[in-house]
Symmetry: C2
Subunit: 189 residues, 2 copies
Protein backbone atom coordinates (compact mmCIF):
# COMPACT_ATOMS: atom_id res chain seq x y z
CA UNK A 1 0.00 0.00 0.00
CA UNK A 2 1.94 3.03 -1.27
CA UNK A 3 1.71 6.60 -0.05
CA UNK A 4 -1.36 8.37 -1.28
CA UNK A 5 -1.01 11.31 -3.67
CA UNK A 6 -2.81 14.58 -3.01
CA UNK A 7 -3.43 17.13 -5.78
CA UNK A 8 -2.84 20.63 -4.41
CA UNK A 9 -5.10 23.09 -6.25
CA UNK A 10 -5.38 26.82 -5.69
CA UNK A 11 -4.55 30.30 -6.93
CA UNK A 12 -1.31 30.44 -4.93
CA UNK A 13 0.32 29.42 -8.22
CA UNK A 14 -0.01 33.14 -9.06
CA UNK A 15 2.04 34.34 -6.07
CA UNK A 16 5.55 35.63 -6.72
CA UNK A 17 6.81 32.86 -4.37
CA UNK A 18 4.49 30.17 -5.76
CA UNK A 19 7.21 27.53 -5.88
CA UNK A 20 8.13 28.11 -2.22
CA UNK A 21 4.46 27.92 -1.15
CA UNK A 22 4.14 24.68 -3.10
CA UNK A 23 7.18 23.28 -1.30
CA UNK A 24 5.65 24.20 2.08
CA UNK A 25 2.42 22.45 1.10
CA UNK A 26 4.31 19.36 0.01
CA UNK A 27 6.27 19.33 3.30
CA UNK A 28 3.02 19.43 5.31
CA UNK A 29 1.69 16.53 3.24
CA UNK A 30 4.90 14.56 3.81
CA UNK A 31 4.64 15.14 7.58
CA UNK A 32 1.26 13.39 7.43
CA UNK A 33 2.40 10.50 5.25
CA UNK A 34 1.01 11.89 2.00
CA UNK A 35 2.65 12.97 -1.27
CA UNK A 36 1.63 16.42 -2.48
CA UNK A 37 1.34 17.06 -6.23
CA UNK A 38 1.63 20.80 -6.94
CA UNK A 39 0.28 22.09 -10.25
CA UNK A 40 2.65 22.11 -13.13
CA UNK A 41 2.39 25.86 -13.78
CA UNK A 42 5.88 26.77 -12.73
CA UNK A 43 7.76 23.79 -14.12
CA UNK A 44 6.88 23.70 -17.82
CA UNK A 45 9.80 23.73 -20.22
CA UNK A 46 8.82 25.35 -23.53
CA UNK A 47 9.83 23.43 -26.64
CA UNK A 48 10.74 25.34 -29.80
CA UNK A 49 8.06 24.80 -32.46
CA UNK A 50 6.23 22.72 -29.84
CA UNK A 51 2.74 23.19 -28.38
CA UNK A 52 2.00 26.48 -26.59
CA UNK A 53 3.17 26.63 -22.97
CA UNK A 54 -0.42 27.10 -21.78
CA UNK A 55 -1.41 23.79 -23.43
CA UNK A 56 1.54 22.01 -21.80
CA UNK A 57 0.43 23.33 -18.40
CA UNK A 58 -3.16 22.24 -19.09
CA UNK A 59 -2.09 18.72 -20.01
CA UNK A 60 0.31 18.55 -17.06
CA UNK A 61 -2.41 19.53 -14.60
CA UNK A 62 -4.88 16.99 -16.03
CA UNK A 63 -2.22 14.28 -15.69
CA UNK A 64 -1.54 15.24 -12.06
CA UNK A 65 -5.26 15.21 -11.24
CA UNK A 66 -5.71 11.77 -12.79
CA UNK A 67 -2.65 10.48 -10.91
CA UNK A 68 -3.96 11.76 -7.55
CA UNK A 69 -5.90 9.80 -4.93
CA UNK A 70 -7.29 12.84 -3.09
CA UNK A 71 -7.39 16.61 -3.74
CA UNK A 72 -7.17 19.64 -1.46
CA UNK A 73 -8.38 22.88 -3.03
CA UNK A 74 -7.81 26.46 -1.91
CA UNK A 75 -11.22 28.02 -2.62
CA UNK A 76 -10.38 31.44 -1.14
CA UNK A 77 -11.83 34.33 -3.15
CA UNK A 78 -9.69 35.47 -6.06
CA UNK A 79 -10.19 38.75 -7.99
CA UNK A 80 -13.80 38.98 -6.85
CA UNK A 81 -16.13 37.35 -4.33
CA UNK A 82 -15.74 33.84 -5.75
CA UNK A 83 -13.00 31.24 -6.03
CA UNK A 84 -10.39 31.16 -8.80
CA UNK A 85 -11.94 29.92 -12.06
CA UNK A 86 -9.08 27.46 -12.68
CA UNK A 87 -9.48 25.93 -9.22
CA UNK A 88 -13.26 25.77 -9.75
CA UNK A 89 -12.67 23.95 -13.06
CA UNK A 90 -10.36 21.50 -11.32
CA UNK A 91 -12.90 20.79 -8.56
CA UNK A 92 -15.40 19.87 -11.27
CA UNK A 93 -12.90 17.70 -13.11
CA UNK A 94 -11.85 15.86 -9.91
CA UNK A 95 -15.48 15.40 -8.84
CA UNK A 96 -16.37 13.70 -12.12
CA UNK A 97 -13.33 11.43 -11.70
CA UNK A 98 -14.66 10.45 -8.26
CA UNK A 99 -11.59 11.75 -6.40
CA UNK A 100 -12.36 12.79 -2.79
CA UNK A 101 -12.05 16.60 -2.61
CA UNK A 102 -11.31 18.62 0.52
CA UNK A 103 -11.67 22.39 0.29
CA UNK A 104 -10.78 25.40 2.39
CA UNK A 105 -11.20 29.14 2.24
CA UNK A 106 -9.31 31.78 4.18
CA UNK A 107 -12.31 34.11 4.02
CA UNK A 108 -14.87 32.68 6.44
CA UNK A 109 -18.07 34.58 5.60
CA UNK A 110 -20.98 33.42 3.48
CA UNK A 111 -20.87 34.19 -0.25
CA UNK A 112 -23.69 36.73 0.03
CA UNK A 113 -21.63 38.71 2.55
CA UNK A 114 -18.64 38.80 0.21
CA UNK A 115 -20.82 40.08 -2.62
CA UNK A 116 -22.13 42.73 -0.21
CA UNK A 117 -18.58 44.05 0.28
CA UNK A 118 -18.60 45.06 -3.40
CA UNK A 119 -21.93 46.89 -3.33
CA UNK A 120 -25.48 46.79 -2.00
CA UNK A 121 -27.37 43.50 -1.87
CA UNK A 122 -31.09 43.89 -1.38
CA UNK A 123 -34.02 41.56 -0.84
CA UNK A 124 -36.36 41.19 -3.83
CA UNK A 125 -39.65 40.79 -1.98
CA UNK A 126 -41.44 39.49 -5.08
CA UNK A 127 -39.20 36.43 -5.40
CA UNK A 128 -37.48 36.16 -2.03
CA UNK A 129 -34.06 36.38 -3.69
CA UNK A 130 -31.20 38.65 -2.69
CA UNK A 131 -30.07 40.78 -5.64
CA UNK A 132 -26.85 42.67 -6.28
CA UNK A 133 -26.69 46.20 -7.74
CA UNK A 134 -27.10 44.74 -11.26
CA UNK A 135 -30.28 42.92 -10.29
CA UNK A 136 -28.55 39.52 -10.43
CA UNK A 137 -29.63 37.12 -7.73
CA UNK A 138 -27.10 36.20 -5.07
CA UNK A 139 -27.12 32.66 -3.72
CA UNK A 140 -28.02 32.68 -0.03
CA UNK A 141 -27.77 29.07 1.06
CA UNK A 142 -25.33 29.68 3.93
CA UNK A 143 -22.53 28.45 1.65
CA UNK A 144 -19.11 29.92 0.95
CA UNK A 145 -19.39 30.00 -2.87
CA UNK A 146 -21.58 28.84 -5.74
CA UNK A 147 -23.55 25.82 -4.55
CA UNK A 148 -21.90 23.52 -7.10
CA UNK A 149 -18.54 24.05 -5.39
CA UNK A 150 -19.73 23.73 -1.80
CA UNK A 151 -21.75 20.58 -2.43
CA UNK A 152 -19.03 18.92 -4.50
CA UNK A 153 -16.68 19.32 -1.52
CA UNK A 154 -19.31 18.30 1.05
CA UNK A 155 -20.13 15.10 -0.84
CA UNK A 156 -16.59 13.92 -0.08
CA UNK A 157 -17.42 14.01 3.63
CA UNK A 158 -16.41 17.42 4.99
CA UNK A 159 -17.86 20.88 4.35
CA UNK A 160 -15.45 23.51 3.02
CA UNK A 161 -13.25 24.56 5.95
CA UNK A 162 -13.53 28.29 6.64
CA UNK A 163 -10.86 30.23 8.47
CA UNK A 164 -10.26 33.95 8.83
CA UNK A 165 -6.84 34.49 7.27
CA UNK A 166 -7.83 37.33 5.01
CA UNK A 167 -4.49 39.03 5.66
CA UNK A 168 -2.84 36.28 3.58
CA UNK A 169 -5.59 34.27 1.86
CA UNK A 170 -3.39 32.55 -0.70
CA UNK A 171 -0.43 31.53 1.46
CA UNK A 172 -1.77 31.05 5.02
CA UNK A 173 -1.69 27.29 5.45
CA UNK A 174 -3.47 26.65 8.77
CA UNK A 175 -6.74 25.61 7.11
CA UNK A 176 -4.76 23.70 4.50
CA UNK A 177 -2.99 21.74 7.25
CA UNK A 178 -6.36 20.86 8.80
CA UNK A 179 -7.43 19.50 5.39
CA UNK A 180 -4.23 17.45 5.21
CA UNK A 181 -5.05 15.96 8.62
CA UNK A 182 -8.52 15.01 7.35
CA UNK A 183 -7.04 13.59 4.13
CA UNK A 184 -4.60 11.44 6.13
CA UNK A 185 -7.54 9.93 8.04
CA UNK A 186 -9.48 9.01 4.89
CA UNK A 187 -9.59 5.27 4.27
CA UNK A 188 -7.33 3.90 1.60
CA UNK A 189 -9.28 3.13 -1.58
CA UNK B 1 -30.80 8.21 -33.83
CA UNK B 2 -32.53 10.55 -31.37
CA UNK B 3 -32.09 14.28 -31.02
CA UNK B 4 -28.92 15.23 -29.21
CA UNK B 5 -29.15 16.93 -25.81
CA UNK B 6 -27.16 20.07 -25.08
CA UNK B 7 -26.44 21.19 -21.52
CA UNK B 8 -26.81 24.98 -21.30
CA UNK B 9 -24.45 26.33 -18.64
CA UNK B 10 -23.97 29.94 -17.61
CA UNK B 11 -24.62 32.62 -15.03
CA UNK B 12 -27.82 33.76 -16.74
CA UNK B 13 -29.54 31.56 -14.14
CA UNK B 14 -29.02 34.57 -11.85
CA UNK B 15 -30.96 37.00 -14.06
CA UNK B 16 -34.41 38.10 -12.90
CA UNK B 17 -35.78 36.65 -16.15
CA UNK B 18 -33.65 33.48 -16.03
CA UNK B 19 -36.49 31.18 -16.99
CA UNK B 20 -37.34 33.28 -20.06
CA UNK B 21 -33.68 33.36 -21.17
CA UNK B 22 -33.55 29.58 -20.74
CA UNK B 23 -36.64 29.23 -22.92
CA UNK B 24 -35.03 31.39 -25.63
CA UNK B 25 -31.92 29.22 -25.50
CA UNK B 26 -33.98 26.05 -25.77
CA UNK B 27 -35.89 27.49 -28.74
CA UNK B 28 -32.62 28.25 -30.57
CA UNK B 29 -31.49 24.67 -29.91
CA UNK B 30 -34.78 23.29 -31.22
CA UNK B 31 -34.45 25.37 -34.40
CA UNK B 32 -31.18 23.52 -35.03
CA UNK B 33 -32.50 20.04 -34.24
CA UNK B 34 -31.07 19.91 -30.71
CA UNK B 35 -32.69 19.62 -27.29
CA UNK B 36 -31.49 22.19 -24.75
CA UNK B 37 -31.21 21.21 -21.09
CA UNK B 38 -31.31 24.31 -18.89
CA UNK B 39 -29.92 24.05 -15.36
CA UNK B 40 -32.31 22.99 -12.71
CA UNK B 41 -31.86 26.12 -10.57
CA UNK B 42 -35.29 27.53 -11.10
CA UNK B 43 -37.33 24.36 -11.07
CA UNK B 44 -36.52 22.70 -7.75
CA UNK B 45 -39.48 21.89 -5.52
CA UNK B 46 -38.44 21.91 -1.84
CA UNK B 47 -39.60 18.93 0.19
CA UNK B 48 -40.46 19.38 3.87
CA UNK B 49 -37.81 17.66 6.04
CA UNK B 50 -36.04 16.78 2.77
CA UNK B 51 -32.53 17.65 1.62
CA UNK B 52 -31.61 21.35 1.35
CA UNK B 53 -32.71 23.05 -1.85
CA UNK B 54 -29.09 23.77 -2.78
CA UNK B 55 -28.30 20.03 -2.68
CA UNK B 56 -31.32 19.26 -4.86
CA UNK B 57 -30.10 21.82 -7.41
CA UNK B 58 -26.58 20.34 -7.28
CA UNK B 59 -27.85 16.83 -7.90
CA UNK B 60 -30.22 18.01 -10.62
CA UNK B 61 -27.42 19.78 -12.48
CA UNK B 62 -25.11 16.75 -12.27
CA UNK B 63 -27.91 14.58 -13.66
CA UNK B 64 -28.50 16.99 -16.56
CA UNK B 65 -24.77 17.10 -17.37
CA UNK B 66 -24.54 13.32 -17.40
CA UNK B 67 -27.64 13.10 -19.59
CA UNK B 68 -26.23 15.57 -22.14
CA UNK B 69 -24.37 14.76 -25.36
CA UNK B 70 -22.78 18.21 -25.79
CA UNK B 71 -22.50 21.35 -23.64
CA UNK B 72 -22.52 25.07 -24.45
CA UNK B 73 -21.16 27.30 -21.69
CA UNK B 74 -21.52 31.04 -21.23
CA UNK B 75 -18.04 31.99 -19.97
CA UNK B 76 -18.68 35.75 -19.89
CA UNK B 77 -17.09 37.45 -16.88
CA UNK B 78 -19.21 37.40 -13.73
CA UNK B 79 -18.55 39.55 -10.63
CA UNK B 80 -14.92 40.06 -11.61
CA UNK B 81 -12.65 39.48 -14.60
CA UNK B 82 -13.24 35.72 -14.76
CA UNK B 83 -16.12 33.39 -15.55
CA UNK B 84 -18.76 32.31 -13.04
CA UNK B 85 -17.31 29.74 -10.61
CA UNK B 86 -20.31 27.43 -11.01
CA UNK B 87 -19.95 27.45 -14.80
CA UNK B 88 -16.19 26.87 -14.44
CA UNK B 89 -16.92 23.88 -12.18
CA UNK B 90 -19.34 22.50 -14.76
CA UNK B 91 -16.82 22.87 -17.58
CA UNK B 92 -14.40 20.76 -15.53
CA UNK B 93 -17.04 18.16 -14.74
CA UNK B 94 -18.14 17.88 -18.38
CA UNK B 95 -14.53 17.71 -19.59
CA UNK B 96 -13.78 14.76 -17.32
CA UNK B 97 -16.93 13.04 -18.62
CA UNK B 98 -15.62 13.50 -22.17
CA UNK B 99 -18.58 15.64 -23.28
CA UNK B 100 -17.72 18.02 -26.13
CA UNK B 101 -17.83 21.57 -24.73
CA UNK B 102 -18.43 24.74 -26.72
CA UNK B 103 -17.85 28.06 -24.96
CA UNK B 104 -18.56 31.70 -25.61
CA UNK B 105 -17.94 35.02 -23.92
CA UNK B 106 -19.66 38.33 -24.57
CA UNK B 107 -16.54 40.22 -23.50
CA UNK B 108 -14.04 39.78 -26.33
CA UNK B 109 -10.75 40.98 -24.81
CA UNK B 110 -7.93 38.87 -23.39
CA UNK B 111 -8.03 38.04 -19.67
CA UNK B 112 -5.08 40.32 -18.91
CA UNK B 113 -7.02 43.27 -20.37
CA UNK B 114 -10.01 42.53 -18.16
CA UNK B 115 -7.81 42.42 -15.07
CA UNK B 116 -6.34 45.75 -16.19
CA UNK B 117 -9.80 47.34 -16.05
CA UNK B 118 -9.77 46.74 -12.29
CA UNK B 119 -6.35 48.27 -11.64
CA UNK B 120 -2.79 48.53 -12.91
CA UNK B 121 -1.08 45.49 -14.42
CA UNK B 122 2.67 45.85 -14.74
CA UNK B 123 5.47 43.79 -16.23
CA UNK B 124 7.75 42.09 -13.68
CA UNK B 125 11.03 42.31 -15.59
CA UNK B 126 12.72 39.74 -13.32
CA UNK B 127 10.30 36.96 -14.27
CA UNK B 128 8.63 38.20 -17.44
CA UNK B 129 5.20 37.88 -15.79
CA UNK B 130 2.48 40.52 -15.74
CA UNK B 131 1.43 41.30 -12.16
CA UNK B 132 -1.69 42.93 -10.74
CA UNK B 133 -1.68 45.54 -7.96
CA UNK B 134 -1.39 42.74 -5.35
CA UNK B 135 1.70 41.31 -7.06
CA UNK B 136 -0.21 38.25 -8.29
CA UNK B 137 0.80 37.13 -11.76
CA UNK B 138 -1.78 37.55 -14.54
CA UNK B 139 -1.93 34.89 -17.23
CA UNK B 140 -0.99 36.40 -20.59
CA UNK B 141 -1.40 33.57 -23.08
CA UNK B 142 -3.77 35.43 -25.41
CA UNK B 143 -6.66 33.54 -23.81
CA UNK B 144 -10.01 34.76 -22.54
CA UNK B 145 -9.77 33.23 -19.03
CA UNK B 146 -7.68 30.87 -16.91
CA UNK B 147 -5.85 28.50 -19.27
CA UNK B 148 -7.66 25.46 -17.87
CA UNK B 149 -10.96 26.84 -19.17
CA UNK B 150 -9.74 27.97 -22.59
CA UNK B 151 -7.91 24.73 -23.35
CA UNK B 152 -10.75 22.52 -22.12
CA UNK B 153 -13.03 24.25 -24.64
CA UNK B 154 -10.43 24.25 -27.43
CA UNK B 155 -9.81 20.51 -27.04
CA UNK B 156 -13.39 19.94 -28.18
CA UNK B 157 -12.51 21.51 -31.53
CA UNK B 158 -13.34 25.22 -31.34
CA UNK B 159 -11.72 28.03 -29.35
CA UNK B 160 -13.99 30.00 -27.02
CA UNK B 161 -16.11 32.28 -29.23
CA UNK B 162 -15.62 35.93 -28.31
CA UNK B 163 -18.14 38.61 -29.12
CA UNK B 164 -18.55 42.15 -27.90
CA UNK B 165 -21.95 42.19 -26.24
CA UNK B 166 -20.83 43.78 -23.01
CA UNK B 167 -24.07 45.77 -22.86
CA UNK B 168 -25.88 42.50 -22.09
CA UNK B 169 -23.28 39.81 -21.38
CA UNK B 170 -25.59 37.31 -19.74
CA UNK B 171 -28.56 37.46 -22.09
CA UNK B 172 -27.22 38.41 -25.54
CA UNK B 173 -27.50 35.18 -27.50
CA UNK B 174 -25.72 35.88 -30.81
CA UNK B 175 -22.52 34.07 -29.77
CA UNK B 176 -24.63 31.35 -28.16
CA UNK B 177 -26.48 30.82 -31.45
CA UNK B 178 -23.16 30.48 -33.27
CA UNK B 179 -22.19 27.76 -30.74
CA UNK B 180 -25.49 26.00 -31.40
CA UNK B 181 -24.73 26.02 -35.13
CA UNK B 182 -21.33 24.44 -34.41
CA UNK B 183 -22.92 21.90 -32.07
CA UNK B 184 -25.46 20.92 -34.73
CA UNK B 185 -22.58 20.17 -37.13
CA UNK B 186 -20.74 17.91 -34.68
CA UNK B 187 -20.86 14.25 -35.67
CA UNK B 188 -23.22 12.00 -33.76
CA UNK B 189 -21.32 9.88 -31.21
Amino acid sequence: MGERKVYLAGPEVFLPDAVAVGERKKAICAAHGLVGLFPFDNEVVPVEDGPPVSLLIYRGNLDLMRASDIAILNLSPFRGPGADTGTSFELGYLTALGKPCLGYTNDPVDYVERVRRGGPVTLDAATGYWRDASGLSVEDFGLSDNLMLDHAVAMSGHATLRRDARHDPLADLAAFEECVRLAAMMPHP
